[in-house]
């Protein structure tokens, strides 16, 4: 029995908790990508850097608050700064929309042109972030780091294996649930949300029914800015803030959005978790867990690792390819890509 518990704790500690937190971060990012795809009809490559910009503005406000001696006790001060970060990010994306995207939207250009345009925006945002805060690593998490640390867990339970649960992981999961619930309520229950979905389904019909397209676009950008800032800040709290990493996050985020079905919010969430769990489980060395769970003679000598960790990205892309081959619209009937 003790062995079983030890194995379970090891599994939770090294697979379930990290993958859930990472999955929630990817899901929040993928939601933003999928909303843009669903409503504005293009793949927004600038999303990773919008997340970086959101995190950066939040960090700057956090430093200001810390300078004034404001803190949230065990919770990171960044939570308090987050609304300001969202507002600044919203200003940025609305600005880019007015300056860049609106011009192309008026011309009704093909989506692929908007994709290329978004890459341009990506490079500019990328440069802007580095220009303002610099390329260095910034650690802005304060407050209590752990809900429970591995060492404390061992002392409390007397088990050999430790279980660590970080404040940032808990916060990520809780925030993701709240944000997703709020988003679904907004899209399905409010008049504005419904008009957004109508616009997504058929732009011309929506126009005929008296929906103001510019208003829908503005609201979409504001929501996307909020999602990006939240995802960026949560990610930065959990790991640390470095502009370069956000640029790299773009790949798993897009993988998540496409696996789930581009344009489908619920698909983005499912996709986030599929990508995160597949990266962690397929490359996990099961030796430790199996040693606890299997009787002596069956215990493995090797590492029982399906694939070396070198291949963890190959795993999410293999899933992506398989999904596209058999269900081109993704797991949850998004738009075909």
């Amino acid at each position: 029995m003790i062995d079983f518990l030890n194995g379970l704790v090891a599994l939770l500690n090294f697979v379930v908790i990290p993958a859930t937190a990472y999955g929630a971060q990817l899901a929040l990012g993928a939601l933003g990508v999928t909303l843009i795809y669903g409503i504005l009809r293009f793949s927004n490559f600038a999303h990773g850097d919008t997340m970086a910009f959101g995190a950066m503005s939040t960090i700057l406000v956090t430093w200001l608050l810390q300078g004034w001696g404001v803190s949230l006790g065990p919770l990171p001060t960044a939570l308090l700064a987050l609304p300001f970060g969202i507002a600044i990010t919203a200003l940025l994306v609305l600005g880019t929309d007015k300056l860049v995207y609106r011009f192309y939207r008026r011309q009704r250009v093909a989506p692929v042109i908007l994709v290329i345009v978004s890459m341009g925006v990506m490079f500019v945002t990328n440069g802007l972030v580095r220009f303002i805060i610099g390329p260095d690593d910034r650690n802005f998490a304060d407050g209590a780091r752990f809900l429970i640390s591995a060492r404390d867990f061992r002392e409390i339970t007397g088990l050999d294996e430790g279980l660590a649960f970080r404040t940032s992981q808990a916060m990520t999961i809780v925030t993701a649930v709240i944000v997703v619930a709020a988003l679904f309520w907004f899209l399905n229950r409010t008049r504005t949300g419904k008009s957004m979905r109508a616009f997504s389904d058929n732009e011309d019909l929506a126009l005929l029914s008296g929906i103001n397209p510019e208003r829908v676009v503005t609201i979409t950008w504001v929501i996307v800015a909020a999602l990006a800032a939240v995802a960026g800040v949560l990610y930065g709290l959990d790991k640390s803030f470095k502009p370069f990493t956000y640029f790299q996050l773009l790949l798993p985020i897009f993988a998540a959005a496409i696996v789930g079905g581009l344009g489908s919010p619920i698909g983005a969430i499912a996709g986030g978790f599929v990508v995160a769990f597949s990266e962690v489980t397929v490359t996990y060395a099961w030796k430790k867990v199996l040693e606890y769970w299997l009787p002596g003679p069956l215990e493995p000598d090797g590492l029982v690792q399906l694939l070396s960790t070198d291949y963890k990205f190959a795993v999410s892309f293999a899933i992506l390819v398989i999904v596209l081959l058999f269900r081109p619209t993704g797991l949850f009937k998004g738009k075909s890509v």
């Binding site: 090891a10 500690n13 090294f14 697979v15 990290p18 993958a19 990472y22 971060q25 990817l26 610099g134 390329p135 260095d136 690593d137 650690n139 752990f146 640390s149 591995a150 060492r151 061992r154 430790g162 660590a164 970080r166 990610y235 790991k239 640390s240 470095k242 370069f244 990493t245 640029f247 790299q248 996050l249 798993p252 995160a276 990266e279 962690v280 490359t283 996990y284 060395a285 099961w286 030796k287 430790k288 867990v289 590492l303 690792q305 070396s308 960790t309 070198d310 963890k312 990205f313």
Partner: protein
């Protein structure tokens, strides 16, 4: 209208002439470092350090009868061989440089060497490419480095573990030429000492999440986790992940992990961990620290000393050979770097030029006690350190 045309033609001709005249008195030095990419946080100091050497030379009246050195920078990106090659190509063909201080990361350095430097006959002195593979690269005597090869570092790390009685370790390395080369040489040396490596897992830099790698390493077990990565990149992510999940308590760190930022961001949990870093001490290092402080950057930042030495060596070799043609001065680099001759410290470059101009011999000591061995690479002394009370504390020089 005719007059106007005439006037502009005359101005253009005059302008070109002035441009050409200015050119004759300038020797351009290419500085190729990864100003963007995974090591973008340490390259600004490296570049400043090389520029410090350049401005010291110019203040001393230049080289080769008063020619000034002008530094031209380009971005190696550290990871993108194609971009780095294009940048180096541009420096040679359009800027007309006479030597390259760079590149930084081993992968792009090898690419620039093979694709640009050797075909164009250009001297390269890298301050920070440490991959053992570069010792055997085909270079026509054009490639040098002021940083030691990681073959040596692997032995040093293995010996530190040996002296601590650690026999079983897990290894994680950053997935590039540097990490791969260092982990290979470390594992060979460690196993020769009778140690066991439970798992050798790579990690990618700048990625979102390292729980998969930490999970696999934790499962494999070992007394110590050997981290051969970058302090502001995956290496830090791996240590943080391993500490947070309680997988490992003690870490041994390669040279890329030596950074004050790492101590600041990981905090007290890092106490008791140890590692090695290329080190130099003595008059040269102190002299350099003084210069760097005066110039307003941190002399202890990674590879700043090596950068200063690389830039200085190129200029000294040009002066010794009496030419800025790479194929003529390449043979002088070993002469000015090694004994015999008058020892030259940072800040003494003017003295060195005077001696060389009179036909004398110098032994450039520089900021890192430069001693080039074998195919022109630094012999390398390392500092063994442990982390105590949130600070690096020196144990011994190996």
């Amino acid at each position: 209208m005719k007059k106007l045309l005439m006037a502009s033609a005359v101005t253009a001709v005059a302008g070109t002439a002035a441009f050409g005249a200015a050119h004759e008195n300038v020797i351009k030095l290419g500085i190729i470092l990864g100003f963007t990419g995974p090591i973008e946080s340490i390259t600004p100091s490296m570049s400043e350090s090389a520029q410090l050497a350049v401005s010291e030379i110019n203040d001393a009246g230049g080289i080769l009868d008063g020619k000034m050195i002008e530094a031209v920078t380009a971005d190696s990106t550290c990871v993108d061989a194609a971009a780095a090659t294009a940048a180096a190509e541009r420096l040679i063909t359009s800027d007309g440089i006479s030597g390259i201080m760079g590149a930084d990361c081993s992968g792009v350095t090898g690419a620039i060497l093979a694709n640009v430097a050797v075909p164009n006959g250009m001297v390269m002195i890298s301050p920070s490419a440490t991959s053992p593979g570069l010792s055997e690269a085909e270079d026509n005597g054009l490639f040098f480095r002021t940083a030691p090869s990681d073959a040596r570092q692997g032995e040093v790390l293995a010996n530190i573990l040996d002296s601590k009685g650690v026999t079983e370790v897990a290894v994680t390395y950053t997935n590039n030429d540097y990490g791969q080369g260092l982990s290979d040489s470390f594992i060979a040396a460690f196993e020769a000492n009778g140690g066991t490596v439970t798992l050798n897992a790579s990690h990618e830099d700048g990625k979102g999440d390292y729980s998969a790698e930490v999970g696999a390493l934790a499962s494999a077990g070992g007394d110590v986790l050997v981290v051969l990565g970058y302090a502001d990149q995956g290496g830090q992510g791996m240590i943080r992940g391993a500490l947070d999940s309680g997988a490992f308590d003690t870490f041994m760190m390669g040279d890329g992990m030596y950074s004050e930022d790492l101590l600041a961001s990981i905090g007290p949990d890092l106490n008791g961990s140890y590692g090695a870093v290329p080190w130099s001490e003595g008059e040269g290092t102190e002299a350099f620290a003084g210069l760097a402080d005066a110039a307003g950057f941190d002399p202890a930042s990674s590879y700043t000393r090596e950068s200063y030495d690389a830039a200085a060596l190129i200029a000294l070799a040009m002066q010794a050979a009496g030419s800025s043609d790479p194929n003529e001065y390449k043979a002088s680099i070993l002469d000015v770097a090694n004994a015999p001759g008058e020892p030259i410290l940072p800040g003494d470059l003017k003295k060195a030029f005077d001696i060389l101009a009179e036909g004398g011999d110098i032994d450039y000591v520089g900021a890192t006690n430069v001693e080039l061995i074998g195919p022109g690479e630094a012999a390398g002394t390392y500092l063994e350190y442990t982390v105590e009370d949130g600070a690096f504390s020196q144990v011994e020089i190996r």
